[in-house]
Symmetry: C2
Subunit: 205 residues, 2 copies
Amino acid sequence: MASGKRKNYHHGDLKNSLVEAGLELLRHQDASGISLRAVAKEIGVSHTAPYRHFKSKHSLLAAISQRGFEILTENTRQAVDKEPNDARQQLMLSGQAYVDMAVEHPKLLHLMFGGALSLRDCSTEYCQIAQNSFLSLTHILENGVSTGVFKDKSSTEMSVVVWSLLHGLAMLISAGQLDNEITSQKRIRELSGLAVDTLLNGLLK
Amino acid sequence: MASGKRKNYHHGDLKNSLVEAGLELLRHQDASGISLRAVAKEIGVSHTAPYRHFKSKHSLLAAISQRGFEILTENTRQAVDKEPNDARQQLMLSGQAYVDMAVEHPKLLHLMFGGALSLRDCSTEYCQIAQNSFLSLTHILENGVSTGVFKDKSSTEMSVVVWSLLHGLAMLISAGQLDNEITSQKRIRELSGLAVDTLLNGLLK
DNA sequence: GGTTTAATGTTGACATTGTCAACATAAAAT
DNA sequence: ATTTTATGTTGACAATGTCAACATTAAACC
């Protein structure tokens, strides 16, 4: 409808619409600046319609966060699939996908990791998908070790290290901490590649 | 006063007390769960007294965040001072100080990096102190290069890489993402050391 | 020491927000 | 066609952020 006012009483797919509207609002502002009433109004339903699909505002934010993990997982999978046999390149591409997420969805990333949402209090499904980056990296590292590209170390521990590097870069970028260092999209890719390259080759002489 | 009710009309140091009270509340809950009225009540002043010292709730949160950067800076400085001549050890100790911050102040760290607070809109002083970790690491790396311990690469770029690694580890820990991997305080120190060690020596065979 | 000024705290009010209960509508099941 | 269930609306209430006007007192000044 032109004015955004719905003709029918039943929306039909309100739950998903609320999540997508929330994602859209997070493009422009932090989670703390988002109100349930604003999201409902954006879609053209009453201020308490969301309570038919979500127990609370917190629940809606958790659903938006889960959507974020789905996007991150899919972006990373597509990137990695470009190089099915090269573990080193897969790490590079994973890094780029991760950092791209930070550039495109900074506020969403901030919601996903920490704050009111916690892995210490989540559904089985949410907890699982929130760890996909870790699992994906573990898989790449296992491939790298078994093909002789990487040192034979605990893949789990190395995943933690690789994930830390990529996640840290993503978080610093999205928080604006590297704005002095970053002048273009190309530069971001350079830094991402440099980070992975430095981890592979080491800092010591 | 025993009941927390102040006898005198003038508090005397309300501005700092608000920041400290906010820090304390952040030990137990996310910034989104903190209200100005609750902070004021904690100190025993009226609900609008804070507006005599802070333009808005956002301003108080920014002051709390700045306090957090001060704590991080001081903790890191004290850790690094233990090894004035060993750049490699200084990196290790910086890592530990950074990660300790994540364990002790997870919600504060989340407030400091991203969300409603941004380096794209901050006072000169805040912007400056928010970059202290970066400057500290750059200094350590410059020392390491000049003493021949580290490869002769751009210290600025290497600082970004090291900071990403430490920051990522800290953020993942504080978000509960590494709870499966971390079983004790000792384990956290191990992971922190492992992360720095892996960055120094590299992953490639 | 008294007066004036400025800093700072309080009171009351208002708009917005999250959430609830009761009611309304219609889709689905029987 | 009727009943049940899902889902949306209306109205209300408590909590919150913020503002203006007023109150208290500390500091500055003479």
